[in-house]
């Protein structure tokens, strides 16, 4: 069958996001939710928040990874179909932030699963997360 690039086109035009909080303080979470609401409206890029890992293309993770969340995070990542992409939102996800070295933190996100896009900030503004998503889409295009 000839490759029409249909899959790639579809993926680029409607990335479905799965949001998982692995120990965030809620700051990044509500900024991620803000993205879906009228002012930022990430749905104009075809992005949709999707609860099931089986249906999602992009895993959006906020917060440092706590010991209790790490196994579940890994499980969700493994359940997602390939190709899959991971966006680390916020300082905690990128580096552990203010919580690095806390006793119940098992590490930053890329110590647990591979990460494609880092969005720093505490919390990042919705514009920054939007830019991260746009960069990811640009990468899918290339």
């Amino acid at each position: 069958m000839p490759d029409l690039g249909l899959l790639k086109w579809a993926r680029r035009n409607s990335p479905w996001l799965l949001h998982f909080n692995t120990g965030a303080c809620n700051g990044c979470d509500i900024e991620v939710v803000s993205l879906l609401t009228p002012r930022y409206d990430v749905e104009r890029f075809g992005a949709k928040l999707e609860p099931s890992p089986r249906h999602a293309d992009v895993l959006v993770v906020t917060g440092p990874v706590t010991r209790q969340c790490a196994p579940r995070l890994k499980m969700i990542y493994e359940q997602m179909p390939s190709p899959k992409f991971v966006v680390a939102v916020g300082a905690c996800s990128c580096s552990g932030g203010i919580f690095q070295n806390c006793y119940n933190i098992s590490g930053r996100l890329d110590e647990i699963i591979p990460v494609d896009v880092y969005v720093p900030g505490c919390p990042p503004k919705p514009e920054a997360i939007l830019q991260g998503v746009a960069k990811l889409l640009a990468k899918l295009k290339g």
């Binding site: 006793y103 591979p114 991260g132």
Partner: protein, 557 residues
């Protein structure tokens, strides 16, 4: 004020023999040192003789040879009952039979400090992972993190459902979480269902437990302000205000009046955005998607003015010990007043929606009922308590910042259901707008902060504020250095979560989201605690190593 004095009278008259010392260092703050094992007597006296007495939390402090337990009782003020147990054999009697709301607090102390409470119905882990090594109590001062081995801390995936036990044929166990599409925060609930009816529910907390209380001991007071701010991104101003107040109490610092007004303003803006956020989420949970989108759109102007005032949308970094860090420009005040005018119109509109929309009322009225007696017994706080007909608000009971100079009403509804809890929040948005407008119109002149020494004198302080979700209490103990000896945080959600099983029991599966939502859970606050382990030179290995090879596919923005 009367109730507080009455409480002290009751204690002095009936328990003179068992009281070692009674201190009232500040108005409405009392510390009562009791002889061992006399706490039950004191607590039952307060519960019987002073109306509307609730337990705020239990703080354990490791004093070296002994562990001190502080029972923070709220009766018109904060009465802290102190007892000590030997660290060798830390056992004391549970107070769950006197006041069921103590359940989670005792488990918390057991989990983190290893104090066993005799007679507790369910003495189990609350926050730490199940695989946490036995005999390790992270909040003890001498605790050293054990050498990290891969399987010590994390031997199994705790997110797997437990087996159905003792369930009769018609009962079904349903596990929700930790990852859940609606809550946006990981937490596990296991419901026992009989058909569509909810028979019982168990919550497993701790997925967001990071270790902030221990981390706070390793950082200086000034740095801790930024740490406690990150307990919760939504009510960040409440956390910094309460922590700064506690430290200022110990150091005897008078914050300038202008700073008090600024704190009030940012605190109230925080409340407006938090309540709007929850009302939107409630719309979403009730299947009213357009309400969610509308409310969140109207929340954005508030975020804009918060950003203009503090420099950031969420983590404001506005409060500091001794005052606030920024002045507000006159042009910003003008903009704020204009924005609030628009938001007020929308808030009034939403009040109409919540009062008149038939579908919304059908889905919330008579659902998740929590009676006044239960609410007091379970020690719930904030809008949940006020929705059950108890007009209790820290801003009125123990005025802080500028609340004693600003007129406002305490909202309460007597319906005791989900609708009442949502209505409390709708009305409070308008009330908060009034407060901000009044504060901006009556702003006193003067300095915005006073300088405070890094070293804070020896002492202790409890401080309470009304966070958007309810009473928030911080307990800070200082040993005279620049680092706190103990910081204890009790966030409002931990108090309100106890009420969830009682509110949902007997309800329908379809009511679960709305009842959960009406309690406004915020698990980052609840799970906080934890701390720093500097020996962490281990490495975690995951079975995903092969996938990790693809690490070069990174985009940095």
């Amino acid at each position: 004020m009367e109730r507080f004095e009455k409480a002290l009278e009751v204690l002095k008259n009936n328990l003179a023999d068992s009281i070692d010392e009674l201190k009232v260092p500040r108005p409405r703050k009392a510390y009562v040192f009791l002889k061992p094992e006399n706490h039950r007597e004191a607590i039952s006296l307060l519960l019987k003789q002073v109306e509307e007495t609730i337990l705020s939390t239990i703080t354990g402090v490791d004093l070296g040879e002994e562990i001190e337990l502080n029972y923070h009782m709220i009766c018109g003020g904060t009465v802290t009952l102190k007892i000590r147990v030997p660290k060798e054999n830390p056992v004391t009697k549970s107070i769950c039979d006197l006041i069921p709301g103590a359940n989670l607090y005792e488990r918390e102390v057991f989990d983190l400090l290893g104090v066993t409470f005799e007679g507790h119905p369910n003495m189990e882990r609350l926050l730490l992972p199940e695989s946490w090594p036995q005999g390790n109590y992270p909040l003890r001062r001498d605790w050293q993190a054990p050498e990290h081995q891969e399987d010590v801390f994390m031997s199994k995936d705790e997110s797997q459902p437990e087996s159905v036990s003792e369930a009769s044929e018609s009962l079904v166990n349903v596990i929700v979480g930790p990852q859940h599409p609606v809550l946006h925060e990981p937490e596990k609930f296991s419901f026992t269902l009989d058909g569509e009816k909810v028979v019982d529910v168990n919550a497993r907390l701790g997925y967001v437990h990071r270790g902030i209380e221990k981390a706070a001991e390793k950082m200086m007071y000034f740095q801790d302000v930024y740490l406690v701010e990150r307990i919760c991104g939504i009510c960040n101003a409440a956390h910094t205000t309460v922590f700064c107040q506690a430290v200022e109490d110990i150091a005897n610092v008078e914050t300038p009046p202008r700073a008090q007004y600024y704190r009030t303003i940012v605190h109230e803006l925080n409340r407006i955005h938090s309540h709007l956020l929850l009302l939107g989420v409630a719309g979403h949970l009730l299947g009213f998607e357009s309400l969610f989108q509308h409310v969140w759109r109207d929340r954005e102007p508030i975020m804009d003015i918060v950003e203009r005032i503090t420099g950031n949308r969420l983590m404001s970094g506005f409060n500091t010990i001794g005052g606030v860090r920024r002045d507000i420009a006159p042009s910003t005040i003008e903009k704020t007043l204009k924005t609030l005018k628009d938001v007020r119109k929308r808030a009034v509109f939403y009040k109409n929606v919540f009062e008149e929309d038939a579908t919304l009322r059908l889905r919330t009225e008579g659902v998740g009922v929590l009676s006044r007696e239960d609410a007091l017994k379970l020690c719930v706080v904030g809008p949940v308590l006020r929705g059950s007909g108890v007009a209790s608000d820290v801003r009125k009971d123990e005025p802080y910042a500028a609340y004693d100079e600003i007129p406002f009403n305490v909202i309460s509804y007597t319906d005791c259901d989900t609708w009442a809890r949502l209505m409390v929040r709708v009305d409070e948005v308008v009330e908060s707008i009034n407060i901000v407008e009044y504060a901006l119109a009556n702003l006193p002149d003067g300095k915005i902060r006073v300088r405070v020494q890094r070293k804070i004198p020896e002492g202790e302080a409890t401080s309470r504020v009304e966070a958007p979700r309810g009473a928030l209490i911080h307990y800070v103990k200082s040993d005279g250095s620049a680092y706190p000896y103990r910081v204890k945080v009790r966030a409002p959600t931990l108090a309100n979560l106890v009420a969830f099983p009682d509110a949902i029991r007997g309800g329908y599966v379809a009511d679960i989201p709305s009842v959960m939502g009406s309690l406004d859970p915020c698990f980052s606050c609840t799970d906080r605690m934890a701390f720093i382990d500097t020996n962490n030179n281990k490495k975690w290995h995951w079975s995903l190593d092969d996938v990790n090879n693809q690490k070069n596919r990174k985009v940095l923005i």
